[in-house]
């Protein structure tokens, strides 16, 4: 049974989630760093843009869960997220357009450098970067969309 006279921690000037906040602050940069590791290790082992994008978005989502949606939206404005979604697609498709102009088939990375295998390397880096940007943005956008949903439909919306 809770004591009716007991005041919420916040009213006493204490942070009820202090452990969560401190641990999150510690973890978020590590999560982001791990995302980059997965991204750039994708050439040599398991990983790549999709996985890295989800991990990077998880860092932002954790921030939003612990520090509130408002703080997350201030750090990563929804407007920027919208551009991010597009930018990734354009990076990916733009690589294809560049290979067109260099005389190869769409997305044939071999033409990107003198040496075909170097070209493949540059190409996959650019494309995976595009995937990272889009996946991160889309994951965050989905989270924002659900997170900022109004609990009830207001009368004007009907």
């Amino acid at each position: 049974m809770s004591d009716p006279d007991r005041k919420p921690d916040a009213a006493l000037g204490r942070d009820p989630h202090v452990v969560l906040r401190v641990i999150s602050k510690f973890l978020i940069p590590l999560i982001a760093l791990f995302a980059l590791y997965v991204q750039f290790h994708g050439d040599y082992g398991p990983g790549g843009g999709f996985q890295a994008g989800v991990i990077l978005a998880a860092a932002v989502i954790l921030y939003a869960l612990v520090f509130g949606l408002k703080a997350a939206k201030a750090a990563f404005p929804p407007r920027l997220i919208r551009y991010g979604m597009t930018l990734g697609v354009l990076l990916y498709g733009g690589t294809g357009v560049v290979t067109w102009f260099l005389g190869g088939e769409f997305l044939n990375y071999s033409v990107l450098a003198h040496d075909a295998s170097h070209g493949q390397h540059y190409g996959i880096l650019a494309v995976e970067l595009g995937v990272l940007v889009t996946v991160t943005s889309v994951m965050i956008a989905i989270f924002y969309a659900f997170g900022s949903r109004q609990p009830e439909t207001s009368d004007e919306d009907w």
Binding site: R82, Y83, M85, T86, V89, L90, G93, G94, G96, V97, W100, G104, E105, F106, L107, N108, Y109, S110
Partner: protein, 511 residues
């Protein structure tokens, strides 16, 4: 034909070699740019230019295909079967032209229509989703890779759900229609990808030509291949509105913004039908017992039931677009009947009906959209006196409606005669009778509207008789383009019939 050759000579080589990738990359990239582009005017102009370019490219590729035969484009330089290939052959070249051309016609119509139906701040996203849908449809038709088909199927489907839901600004029922379509469409796509998964398990490849070869070596394959086939057919059946799986279609057609209805009716179900042809005759083969059984009992059975029941339902609809939507389900039945008889002539007739029906239904939905634009008409009883108040729109509606029924000198007549002859030659006389019966049913539902429009006087609103108020030019042009095309095909059908016979010969082997 000398004119055609000069068109080919004018086309740059680059477009012929890289055209297949261009067809899907251009709308995809422009869509993503437009998604962040705030300007609605520029959005329309860009979409217009993109669809015009797509039409030219698709047309050039189709001509090139008629000259040199099947061409394969290696995506990323990786050779099939390991890489993704884009294939243009006699089967998909006409569909590509159809999708590109109908999207171009829709964009012309969309300029006035979106102003009336879409909120200003939603117009650029509307065109972005529209371009994505085009990219998806062209992609799923052009690709030679079975998993790629699924990816593009989803690209087109998801953008379609968004487009249908945008009708909510006009009618809130669009939201439930879009949700209904989302659920059923996702089930369809899931079934399709499960089927592809089983097929991959059986053959170990995703390239469709390679799959066909391995399945032929396996003599149709084991039970896994049969299960794969069943899943693929049900998945595609949902997408193409095969009779009992068509329940999403009337709502989606009736409540989405009118340009979306025009585009969906003339392309989305058609692309799914193309995939049905591709899988039943190209990847699988009617010589396998299970494929033959399915063609005979399921496709013909459902096609025929759909023809009769959907036509009857169309007669009792009070909403004009719902009436046309049920008619679409019935027309899909004709195509399935043609595919199910599985002779070269009947498949060609089904294919021909696919193209003709796209032109006819596109035009009819433009006409109905124009009526809503001017008078807010959605119900068939409000067609009273439209022959006087909107003579040109009603004229196009009449020509296209008669074409739908199958009156001589129209496109509908050509395809129905071909289908009837193919059924008779195969000895399916009961099917001939049913085609006649459903044509009479079509005459009833179209005639009912025409009678109201021409033999009733315009209604009186606030004590004044409604005066003539014709649709804007930007609506009349695409509407009459469809009507004229339908008559031209009806008078001289050589080009379209030739294309459909080439497609059928590719599927069933010449002979």
């Amino acid at each position: 034909m000398p004119v055609m050759f000069s068109v080919l000579e004018m086309t740059p080589d680059w477009m012929l070699t890289h055209g297949p990738a261009f067809l899907m990359a251009l709308p995809l990239l422009m869509a993503s740019i437009m998604a962040v582009l705030p300007n609605k005017r520029v959005a329309w102009a860009t979409t217009f230019v993109v669809t015009a370019l797509l039409t030219v490219t698709a047309f050039a590729l189709a001509l090139y295909n008629a000259e040199v035969g099947t061409t394969i484009y290696k995506m990323g330089g990786w050779a099939p079967p390991h890489g993704i290939s884009l294939v243009i052959d006699a089967l998909n070249a006409p569909i590509l032209v159809l999708i590109a051309l109908m999207s171009f016609i829709t964009v012309i119509y969309a300029l006035p229509a979106t102003v009336a139906e879409i909120k200003p701040n939603k117009r650029a996203p509307f065109y972005a989703a529209f371009l994505l849908c085009i990219a998806g449809l062209l992609g799923m038709v052009i690709t030679g890779d079975a998993f790629n088909v699924f990816v593009f199927l989803e690209v087109s489907s998801i953008s379609t759900y968004v487009l249908v839901a945008m009708g909510a600004a006009r009618d809130r029922r669009a939201l439930s229609a879009a949700y209904n379509y989302l659920i059923l469409g996702s089930i369809g796509a899931t079934f399709f990808v499960i089927g592809i998964g089983f097929l991959y398990m059986e053959t170990g490849t995703l390239n469709m030509a390679d799959m066909a070869r391995i399945l032929a070596d396996l003599d149709g394959g084991s039970r896994v291949a049969k299960v794969a086939f069943a899943f693929i057919i049900i998945g595609l059946g949902l997408k193409l509105a095969m009779f009992p799986l068509h329940t999403w279609l009337p709502g989606a057609y009736a409540y989405s913004p009118t340009p979306v209805t025009v585009f969906l009716a003339s392309t989305a179900t058609k692309a799914a039908l193309y995939l049905l042809l591709r899988f039943t005759f190209f990847v699988f083969d009617p010589s396998y017992a299970y494929v033959a059984d399915l063609l005979l009992y399921i496709l013909v059975g459902m096609g025929v039931i759909g023809m009769v029941f959907a036509s009857l339902q169309a007669i009792f609809q009070t909403d004009a677009r719902r009436m046309l939507a049920f008619s679409s389900v019935a027309q899909v039945g004709y195509m399935l009947l043609g595919i199910g008889i599985a002779t070269t002539a009947s498949v060609a007739a089904g294919y021909l009906h696919l193209i003709n029906h796209a032109v006819i239904k596109g035009g009819l939905f433009i006409a109905v959209g124009a009526m809503w634009y001017r008078f807010g008409i959605t119900r068939t009883e409000d067609f009273k006196g439209l022959g006087k108040t909107m003579p040109w729109t009603m004229g196009a509606f009449t020509v296209l409606g008669l074409s739908l029924v199958g009156v001589p000198f129209t496109a509908g007549f050509v395809s129905k005669v071909n289908l009837t002859l193919a059924a008779a030659n195969a000895g399916w006389y009961w099917a001939v009778g049913l085609i006649m019966l459903t044509s009479i049913l079509a005459l009833i539902y179209i005639g009912r509207v025409l009678l109201l429009a021409y033999f009733q006087s315009p209604p009186t609103v606030n004590g004044e008789v409604v005066v003539r108020n014709e649709a804007p030019l930007m609506m009349l042009i695409p509407m009459w383009a469809c009507a004229t095309a339908s008559v031209v095909i009806g008078v001289n059908s050589d080009a379209v019939v030739g294309a459909s016979i080439r497609a059928a010969e590719l599927l069933l082997g010449a002979g």
